[in-house]
């Protein structure tokens, strides 16, 4: 039984619980040198110290009692409660599209255990219907839990597995796919799926939340509604990311899987398309297309996947005074591909040259991207660039460093032939390289300017 193991308590705190024969979920009165405290003994976070007992007071607050001040316990029985997500049957409507939600581990919808603060994910259609009843107005929903990992723990195996699951579901009649994913690495997975799914008849929409759905201000419900709508109704048969446009509850933006990046550690509007405009803007079941060069929904198109991947690859983020042993150690450890995020137009310092030369000689494929994120690698402009190219480093156009990383792994899954690799790397498969950069592709507005001040004040940001 979980309630008998004094969850999370250790050391002095555990001893005192044992000494007075008290366990988690006991309703107690604790006598201390500071007075008497009454409440229910709660589990303690395993990362917290061993000097305190956590109590939930009748008013709903939690407090900690220092072990050394405790003189005695009086116990009044046990009050453990188990919380369950209310489950209601998700209604089926034959005229609504069938959408499949694949879960990878990020909790888009969840509810809290109000006493411990533990998040209980809501995932089955019934649970989701209980949490976000509006979903039933959008589609018929089926859910499949693929994985249960935090997004930092996602690996290429998860990417391939997700691609295979998508294929299976689309072949089984899904008219749109939604993938729930933690936001931290969502853009890596979006890029990987963009390469691994060679063509799709239906939209594949990635979604997550920046504020968990246990808070009234969560972005989760709106993101989920917009993502299922996009999957069910939109005409775009590509891998997309669907997340908040502004921080306000106003509209979602759809981003292409190979041009999107998480740009703020905590904002709701963290996902931005880099070097281009977003694909579309979406609110209340109305979509406004911004780009029109994406592949269209077509039920007859068979879904094709290609999930090979060589994970002996790395990104090296260049900084001044980088020492050549950084490159050497990658080569010595058997890495086969390196994406460099170089300075400016794509540069590194001279001391690295011999190491780069050796790496290439030993068969490592090295591609240059820019740590400025916006703009193209342009290695002909300066001697430095030409010298580096001469060593065999290949300019990666305007691929984002993370996208080039994912693509290099995917390409090396197919071939290690130097020319073949280069040909594939420089061929755009999913919009990861664009031929041109339009004037509205680079917009980082700065506060303090009169026109921006006006914009901020008038538009809900």
């Amino acid at each position: 039984m979980e309630n008998n193991d004094n969850k999370g308590y250790r050391g002095a705190a555990l001893s005192i619980l044992n000494k007075f024969d008290v366990s988690v979920w006991n309703d107690v009165e604790i006598e201390t040198t500071d007075g008497v405290f009454s409440g229910i003994v709660l589990p303690r976070s395993e990362t917290a110290d061993d000097r305190h007992i956590v109590l939930k007071l009748i008013t709903g607050y939690n407090i900690g009692i220092e072990v050394d001040t405790i003189q005695g316990f009086t116990s009044y029985g046990s009050k453990e409660a188990h919380y369950k997500i209310p489950e209601k049957e998700f209604p089926y409507d034959p005229i609504k599209p069938n959408v499949v939600l694949l879960g990878t581990g990020g909790t888009i919808a969840s509810r809290l255990d109000y006493r411990t603060g533990a998040v209980i994910p809501a995932f089955s259609p019934g649970e989701l219907y209980g949490a976000v009843p509006e979903l039933a107005d959008v589609c018929n929903l089926k859910t499949i839990k693929l994985y249960g990992v935090f997004s930092e723990n996602i690996t290429p195996e998860h990417w391939a597995g997700t691609a295979k699951a998508i294929k299976r579901e689309v072949e089984n009649g899904a008219q749109g796919i939604v993938i729930g994913h933690g936001t931290d690495t969502m853009h890596y997975t979006a890029a990987a799926l963009s390469f691994m799914i060679r063509q799709t008849p239906v939209p594949i929409v990635m979604v997550g939340s920046q504020r968990s759905s246990d808070r009234p201000s969560s972005d989760a419900a709106l993101n989920l509604i917009n993502a299922t709508w996009t999957a069910g109704y939109s005409d775009i048969a590509e891998v997309l990311v669907c997340m908040f446009g502004p921080t306000s509850d106003e509209y979602a933006l759809l981003h292409r899987g190979t041009r999107v990046r998480k740009m703020h550690s905590s904002y709701r509007s963290t996902f931005r398309t880099i070097g281009d405009t977003p694909v579309a803007r979406l609110a209340n079941g109305e979509i406004h297309m911004i780009k029109n060069d994406l592949r269209k929904r077509c039920p007859k198109t068979p879904l094709e996947i290609d999930t090979v991947f060589d994970d002996r690859i790395a990104i090296v983020y260049y900084y001044p005074n980088m020492k050549p042993d950084i490159i050497d150690s990658l080569v010595d450890n058997g890495y086969k591909g390196i994406v460099i995020a170089g300075t400016g137009l794509g540069h590194v310092n001279k001391p690295l040259y011999p190491s780069l030369k050796r790496a290439i000689k030993e068969g490592v494929h090295i591609y240059m991207t820019v740590e400025t994120l916006w703009g193209y690698v342009q290695m002909y402009v300066y001697d430095t660039g030409r010298d580096i190219m001469e060593l065999g480093v290949v300019p990666g156009a305007n691929m984002l460093p993370e996208v080039a990383y994912v693509k290099l792994g995917w390409v090396l899954g197919h071939t290690h032939d130097r020319e073949k690799v280069a040909e594939m790397m420089l061929t755009p498969y999913a919009g990861e390289i664009t031929e041109r950069e339009a004037v509205d592709g680079y917009l980082i507005m700065q506060g303090g300017l009169p026109e921006m001040e006006k914009f901020l004040k008038e538009v809900h940001v």
Binding site: T32, D34, Y61, D214, S248
Partner: protein, 636 residues
Amino acid sequence: MNTTPDPDNFNPRKEGFRCGLEIHQQILTEKKLFCHCPAGIYSEDYDAQVLRHMRPTLSELGEYDGTALMEFKTHKEIIYRINKKLTCTYEMDDNPPFLINQQAVDIAIEIALLLKCSIVGELHVIRKQYLDGSIPAGFQRTAIIGVNGWIPYKDKKISIIQLALEEDACREISDVGHRRIYATDRLAMPLIEVVTGPDMLDPQEAYEVGVQLGRLLRTTGKIRRGIGSVRQDVNVSVNGGTRIEIKGVPQLPLIPDLVFYEAFRQYSLLNLRDKLAERGINKENLQTARFDLSGKLENSALADLPDDENKVSALLIKEMSGLFAHRLGSNRNFADDVRGRIRVIACLEHYPFMLHTDDQSETTISGTDKDILKSVTGMTDNDLVVVVWGPPGDVETALNEVEIRVREAIEIIPNETRQRQPSGETDFERILPGADRMYPDTDSPPLPISRERVDKIRGQMPVLPWVKEAEYKELDLPNHLAWMLAISSRRTIFDRLVSDNKVEPVLAAVVLLEQLKNFSRLGGNLDIISDDCLDELFSAYKKGAFVKEGFRMLIEECALTGNTDWVNLAEKLNIRRVKKEEINKIISESIDTAREELFCKPENLPKVVIGIVMDKLRGSVSGKELIELIQHELNE
């Protein structure tokens, strides 16, 4: 048949009145509680606006069985106005909290100790949910500092259930229809919440305990003053009633009326319940019906409504006639309670947006309209019809709410929070959030509060105001001075002057409280009156630089000039203390002058002599003393 209660004959104590207070007091810190924005600065200027909707979370859905979701579906748009100097991305819930403000924790511990609370060993930040949008996150971060305290009141103890340290909410700018606008300047400023037990047994006690607590808080010198820095929530119940919370009472003197009328409202609602029972109305047999009346009535309030956007609907309630007029206050009836509720929940805005057939005033349902209502709804004299208008969805919500409220009246007094009306009574504010709205803040680590930290604060705590007040009365200070001084920031210097400098207590109190008040009234800058400066003032007096009566003149002069060189000022004002021999010499010289140079008649002599002497000695000797001395000299 029971008669409708009358507030004029209502005795709250007799009906089991109980009242508790929650005092929300901003504390004096430099920065906000969980971010590094400045605290205490207000401005309605804004640089940006953010729009949010508050969505009920799962547990609340379960609890309210749809009411919360209904409220959500009426779709209140919440607009936050952001002044970039006063609010950052933390307050907008776009950034996790920084570590809790330690200065605020220390102040809260000090106040908890003054309230004789037990201080927690570890502080746990909790989220308390609010769906009204007053906090962009949808919850307030709050933490218990101490529990189980008390303060004395008359011959009993008022229990202090707990003291929490929490962030303040937004200021509402407007709330019209589906849009509520908030300023975010006040948001996240640190405040303490002191919760008493329901120990006050009549409205006056509630007020007096509030005063007592306010004085305790002021003693610390670490609370904010001024408009909006303190707000009281007052909870009230009577026998058989419900614990109702009146939110955000800005001033203590408003409390007695508010709680009196709330107690009366509950008492009268119980009476209404009995009346419904007498009519045989229960939840099972309550009969209602709805009718569309769009375009059918003549009422002037409806005449200007654009038909394509609005709908007029009626709810027939059988056997309910007369009960919407049931009196719930000095000037309120049951219909007012219903109206208040649908205004909030259904967001109706075309005033008065609700009419009913119990209303006898002429502005409402006319004779022709009544005939139309009768023919459309089939109402009889025993029935009641409620008419509501506005956007169709909102009208639907409103009629649902009317029906829910009538059903509640059959059984219970609904759990809700209420807000103060200008009349001194209250109106519906919100349905009370469920008990399940508290949960741990996973973004904040627990903070151990060491016993050394608590002991250090305990060692520097001010003496409680009631203890100090008793001490001052022992020194023979008049009651009003003892009362004021007990919480004055000047009380430390007062104690020192009296004990070390042996200044007469009444003199010190008068100078420190009344004359310094006069000083600021004259435009003096109190910053220049440091404790050292006051020390110098009183030692100059002790050394004879001026007479007792000179304090007033010196302080007035200082207010006007800013000069605090007291000895110098005393000379300039000619108020130095004069020796008795010198006074006598001046008096006898003046008598000579009056007799010999002015040829004064004997009967005028005292007046003239007083005039001459006063010119020479004004400020140095009291008038009364001089007159006595002159009389004495003349009599010789």
